[in-house]
Symmetry: D2
Subunit: 152 residues, 4 copies
């Protein structure tokens, strides 16, 4: 329904910039998340199951699902920003649609609209379990381009 879009990155080094920013977040290593895909306007993050990351039923905790979605949408947006910019999440809204029960969580972020200052993105989160790949959460997010405030 939304027209498919092919984004252009204004910074040719967007990928190494995004990978460096991801690596600079201690939380990602702490939970065991890995950046598995970066392209203009797109970012994918994967997280293998760990027993520390669950809620009372043994499923990935909603806060972890939100963390992955926030980062996938945020780094998708960051791919389109200028080389000297930082990125800030203004807000996000997450629907938890099915139990995140499985051995791998994958968040796929994509830009919906990129303005000069504000970017709107979306992320879909899938869990890989016994029933196959389940679309367990979806997020809509607003980010701000912090011109001139990139992580040097």
């Amino acid at each position: 329904m939304t027209e498919p879009t092919t984004w252009q990155a204004c910074d040719p080094d967007f990928e190494s910039r995004v990978r460096a920013a991801f690596a600079a977040q201690p939380l990602m290593e702490f939970i065991g998340a890995a950046l598995t895909g970066v392209a203009p306007g797109v970012c994918t993050i994967a997280l293998p199951f760990r027993p520390e990351l669950v809620q009372q039923n043994g499923f990935f905790h909603g806060g972890i699902v939100g963390t992955l979605a926030d980062n996938a949408g945020g780094f998708a947006s960051y791919t389109l920003m200028p080389a000297d910019a930082g990125v800030l999440t203004v807000e996000y809204k997450l629907n938890l649609m099915a139990p995140a029960q499985g051995d791998m969580l994958v968040a796929e972020g994509q830009v919906v609209r990129a303005g000069r200052n504000l970017v709107v993105s979306r992320a879909d989160v899938f869990v890989r379990g016994e029933k196959g790949r389940i679309h367990c959460a979806t997020m809509q997010q607003t980010l701000m381009t912090m011109h001139g405030k990139g992580v040097a």
Copy 2:
């Protein structure tokens, strides 16, 4: 502006039920969060700073802020549910309003409206730092009462 409300818990043992549910979430221990307050329609969770929980600037990661807010609003709602019910987050929306920079993060959840099946709650997150106590995030959330599906 919202009229202050005094909630009544239908389950007299709501506090031990909420404390047991909190203790049953391995993620809370993993990040070091503690349940610091439970009352009808209200729940407070505190999280001391740890270097593993940060983003690239050394502030609490937005996903951690969201995790705390989700749980504070969720357990606030859970206080008002029947003894045999479970609680499920349907969705939440989080505004990150200021950098979560400091040595302690506190999320205060409160119920806005409790229906038979759906509960709407809110959580405010504060960070205690050099500038005092900063209101760094606010969340609006929808939860579902899972009748007869409590954690026995």
Copy 3:
């Protein structure tokens, strides 16, 4: 990124049911909105420009954009519900991404995930103006199936 889905309607008369529900909303006639497309999991609503519907700059008011998005997502969800069910919007979140300046507003709703009781949908709103078709807003929404409470 989200896998394309082909929804199946369980009620063969879903289209006439949705058209009747749309016609039963006086607000739609009052603002001049028309139901322009109905298919399983999908609904499109169009609204020609009227000078009464604008904000201070002469663009469609954000509340009108939200009204159209809410209804497009709601009726998209309603197509998949049983014949005897009613539909209720639990909540929605709308990003206004560009000025809604033009002579026609179109909201395209689609279901993201349909559970037994809760449905998650999305709507994209486009405005047709001098610069062509602009994607001016996007919405994420939660709806509830009211079993046995359809508009008879």
Copy 4:
């Protein structure tokens, strides 16, 4: 829970500026809404019942509830902005908590946090009906200060 705040308006003429902006929105007159209260960080809008504004059950349409909430939160934020600024809704999230059934709808907006560029606000919507005053909806919203772009 949220500490009560007393906002200071930097523009002494904030009230006439807000009243002029409200009057400049043709949609408000079209639906019959009136600005009933303006103070620093606060705005109240009332809307008497009209049969054109309803959904299929004869209650105020959710889109109308959202329109009122959006404007109450937006003008509450506008009270705190500089004299030469315009205001733009970035996004809002609305929970519809009870049927908006009654003869008067009132939206009360208040600022939660006012940054230089972004403002976060909240609005609560009440309906006055046979059962008294019901809190039927609550909204969380992000606005942008458009410096130097006020409606002259």
